[in-house]
């Protein structure tokens, strides 16, 4: 399988590094264009219709996100690259889009490309990219959507619909205020990172709760969520948890 690939980065050195690594470790990728001016990206992508695009985030005049925002139907798989930008990385992770940090590690590259290859076959790029664009225009975390890799595919859910996550034998069950729970093959640790925000509290090694659904706290170490679910709070976390509840 030949994957039509485009690289966008304002730094010629960064393009050279990535090309070199791809030629050594990702031979399935066929680089059809490299773009140094982000302003050129829109036309080139429309013309070549790539499967996969590597996009640098911090670029002069137009950021990687702004490149993406120009498309009404961005159906190409993306792997973002950045030297450091916590805000951007969080936004990308929420949508289960691939990313690499510079300097790029060979193993990370291979893993990101493997994931991307799978996603290209599953054809789920358009939805993820659209959610990223939508999320970028939203300030409040609870109003954003996140992408959850479930056992059957990708699920797109609103943050404010999640009541809690429950770790079960290395899997994670995500519970909602309405509707059936989703089972994800990722561990609870994955969701701790995904929901890394003050509204989500890791009350117990197997539970992360959405603070907006907390109804009351019982002194024997249980917190009651809307819908009458009771969740244990680990002994070591009770004091800090209570402090946060009092806010």
């Amino acid at each position: 399988m030949n994957i039509k690939t485009i690289i966008i980065d304002d730094e010629p050195k960064a393009i050279a590094i990535l090309k070199n690594k791809i030629s050594r470790f990702c031979t399935a990728l066929d680089i059809v264009a490299t773009i140094e001016k982000p302003q050129d990206a829109f036309d080139t992508i429309n013309e070549l219709n790539p499967d996969l695009v590597f996009i640098d985030i911090a670029m002069p005049g137009m950021s990687g996100f702004e490149v993406l925002k120009q498309f009404s139907n961005p159906n190409f798989e993306i792997i973002f690259a950045t030297a450091f930008d916590q805000y951007a990385l969080d936004a990308i992770k929420h949508c289960a889009i691939g990313y690499l940090v510079k300097p790029i590690d060979n193993e990370d590259l291979v893993e990101a490309v493997d994931n991307a290859t799978r996603n290209i076959m599953d054809k789920n790029a358009l939805e993820k990219n659209k959610i990223l664009i939508e999320n970028l225009g939203i300030q409040k975390f609870q109003k954003k959507k996140i992408v959850i890799p479930s056992t059957v595919g990708l699920e797109f859910v609103k943050v404010k619909s999640i009541t809690h996550c429950e770790g079960v034998d290395g899997y994670t069950k995500i519970h909602f205020i309405n509707g059936k729970p989703i089972l994800s093959s990722h561990s609870i640790g994955h969701f701790k990172k995904l929901l890394d925000h003050k509204d989500f509290y890791h009350v117990h090694k197997s539970y992360i709760i959405n603070m907006i659904f907390v109804e009351r706290y019982l002194n024997d170490g249980y917190v009651i969520l809307e819908g009458n679910t009771s969740i244990p709070v680990a002994r070591a976390k009770r004091t800090t948890f209570l402090n946060q509840l009092k806010g």
């Binding site: 050279a16 590094i17 002069p60 996100f65 702004e66 030297a83 450091f84 940090v101 510079k102 300097p103």
Partner: protein
């Protein structure tokens, strides 16, 4: 009977005096403690402010974006098997890091040390930006670099702003001119950082568009640090940022900082 009345009178008198003295003493003591507490709290608050600002300064100086981009540029030369350049830049980068850590613990360094530090920083930036960036540093011949001091962690973040906000977004190459000039007033000198980038107004706009919720901007951190230095009574520092587009035919940002070192007698 008279004697008894007299005794009572004296007793009451002594009692009143004693109570008066004790209550005066208590009031006075309370007030003293209160003042002491206030002073202590003030000192603690000032100390805390200083620590926070120092921490912020350290954070703003060790910009992770800069660190990783530099390492990325070094990776490029390694990949191309350019052993000498790779080695050279790796050691330069390491030296710069060493200075970052050294100077962040010091309050002041000499202008000579500061300038050599800034040059090292610019050399590393040049490794990444190559021809896109050029710089020159001019030092007034009457300025005694070895015996003139400067507070640490002020100029480098300002210089980094010129690189990241001024030159980075510019199409084509940019230049940064730094100059150090003696002022007529005692122990005073002026530092100018002038770039021909896109200007601070435009750069602010770009930043606003690209990020919704940015953390404390580096220029706020710098301002806070200058405020604290001015409060310390050891320095009197003034600074001014000008978007050069106010002058016809010019573009970029100019930062002027005047330092006056108030030495204790």
């Amino acid at each position: 009977m008279n004697n008894y009345d007299y005794f009572i009178g004296v007793f009451i008198f002594v009692l009143v005096i004693t109570i008066g003295t004790i209550s005066l003493f208590i009031t006075f003591n309370n007030r003293k403690n209160q003042l002491l507490n206030e002073k202590l709290e003030e000192q603690l608050a000032a100390q805390k402010r200083q620590h926070t600002s120092e921490l912020n300064a350290l954070r703003s100086q060790l910009n992770p974006h800069f660190v990783h981009n530099s390492l990325n540029a070094i990776q490029y030369y390694i990949q191309r098997n350019e052993v000498e350049i790779s080695e050279d830049y790796l050691t330069k980068f390491s030296k710069l890091m060493r200075l970052f850590f050294d100077y962040s613990r010091k309050k002041i360094i000499t202008l000579e040390e500061e300038i050599s530090f800034l040059v090292k920083y610019l050399q590393i930036e040049k490794l990444r930006f190559e021809e896109k960036i050029s710089y020159s540093i001019e030092v007034g011949s009457d300025l005694d670099k070895e015996n003139t001091f400067i507070p640490t962690m002020i100029l480098q973040p300002m210089l980094e702003n010129a690189v990241n906000h001024g030159i980075f977004h510019k199409l084509g190459a940019g230049h940064i001119l730094m100059s150090f000039d003696l002022l007529p007033e005692k122990n005073s000198y002026k530092v100018s950082i002038i770039d021909d980038g896109i200007g601070c107004e435009k750069s602010r706009e770009i930043q606003k568009n690209q990020k919704a919720n940015t953390k404390a901007h580096s220029s706020e951190v710098i301002k806070e640090r200058l405020d604290i230095l001015n409060e310390s009574q050891e320095w009197s520092i003034d600074y001014q940022i000008i978007d050069r587009s106010i002058h016809r035919g010019e573009s970029g940002t100019a930062v002027y900082i005047t330092f006056k070192h108030i030495q204790e007698e």
